[in-house]
Subunit: 219 residues, 2 copies
């Protein structure tokens, strides 16, 4: 086993996820192979980038031919850790939480929301498609019993930090955070922030500021 390689960049991983989706589609369309050029086109990047990304993990292609779709799809799943099932705990059974819960594609990819936790007594006890909403007090117990390592935080920003800490104490190692606050947790805990207002603001800047706001105002 080789020693620690230079770690894989986040952007590479995110692209692998895009490639995987494209490969799924190609597979459904019964395309046997795909070249880096075509894969790049479909995933919105460059052929060289595709090859560089993949070459970090092995040599999956055949020169002159390209990549065999089905095996490459399997390789990517393995690299991304998607062969196993990932039980997930959802904290916050509100608007965004329920949308996520009902989204079928997560489960298809192996992410299964096996527990839902909420603070609101009016929601606790309800059943969502077989999953009972638990009170926040049971969070730790639920996480431990179900062995979940991934958590989705879909609660107001005020409570996000404290609840994230509770998740970590219960054994959660990765968090997808929808609350618009920066979580401060131990460095080995992986956190992905989804900040939709920020996405809109980036659009706002691009439309408003592209020509205008790049000029520094000095006196």
């Amino acid at each position: 086993m080789p020693p620690n390689l230079p770690s894989v960049s986040d952007s590479t991983i995110r692209r692998l996820s895009l490639y995987l989706r494209v490969l799924e589609e190609l597979n459904e369309a019964s395309e046997p192979t795909v070249s880096s050029r075509r894969l790049a086109e479909l995933a919105g990047t460059s052929a060289a980038q595709v090859r560089k990304d993949l070459s970090r993990f092995g040599s999956f292609g055949k020169r002159g031919l390209g990549y065999a779709v089905d095996p490459l799809e399997r390789h990517l799943r393995e690299i991304l850790g998607l062969q196993r099932r990932w039980p997930v705990v959802l904290v916050g059974a509100g608007r965004i939480g329920s949308a996520l819960f009902e989204y079928p594609y997560f489960r298809e990819r192996g992410f299964e929301i096996v527990a839902v936790v909420d603070r609101d007594p009016a929601k606790v006890g309800r059943r969502w498609n077989g999953v009972k909403i638990e009170p926040v007090e049971s969070l730790s117990k639920v996480v431990r019993e179900l062995g979940t390592e991934l958590g989705i935080l879909a609660i107001p920003a005020d409570d996000a930090q404290a609840t994230a800490e509770a998740l970590v104490n219960a054994g959660i190692r990765g968090i997808l955070n929808f609350a618009p606050v920066q979580l401060h947790l131990r460095p080995e805990i992986v956190v992905n922030e989804v900040n939709l207002t920020l996405e809109l603001e980036a659009l706002s800047f691009a439309l408003h500021g592209s020509s205008r706001a790049t000029s520094p105002e000095r006196d």
Copy 2:
């Protein structure tokens, strides 16, 4: 007015949005000033990064003191183009669409969903908090009449490309896309992709692959 400066990087813009939120909080807490160090801490970056980011747009701080919270907040709003109101059209009144529609913070930041469009006849005609759901056929008319430049795509992946093109033809210049497909549009159209499965997969990789999958498998 200076000629075209080297364009501002996307990561800088995204951080500005984070700074803005932190400044809002500091403002509410009546903190008069903030140092780059503290701002960095709260936004999850480094002090040097904060100063570099801000210095692209002007000199907003005072040496020895830091930045005055309220004026800096206003500067950032101006840079990001948030002084004006941004009317937004929402395409897809489903699970994620309704969560977004009901999210109050967008409006607070100036992003106001003024039109909702859906294909489902059962949904068309309903009123959401004063906004009537329109049929897809009216998309172009609605966009033109309301003068919306921003669109949110919250429909299944199959229809996303065609509908995105319809949005662009109607005059939309920026799109926030929740459908998990890469949109191919004219380069002057700004698109931000929100891919939640990808976010979970990045977590999966980090937990599964951190120690394991970085080793290339060669024969």
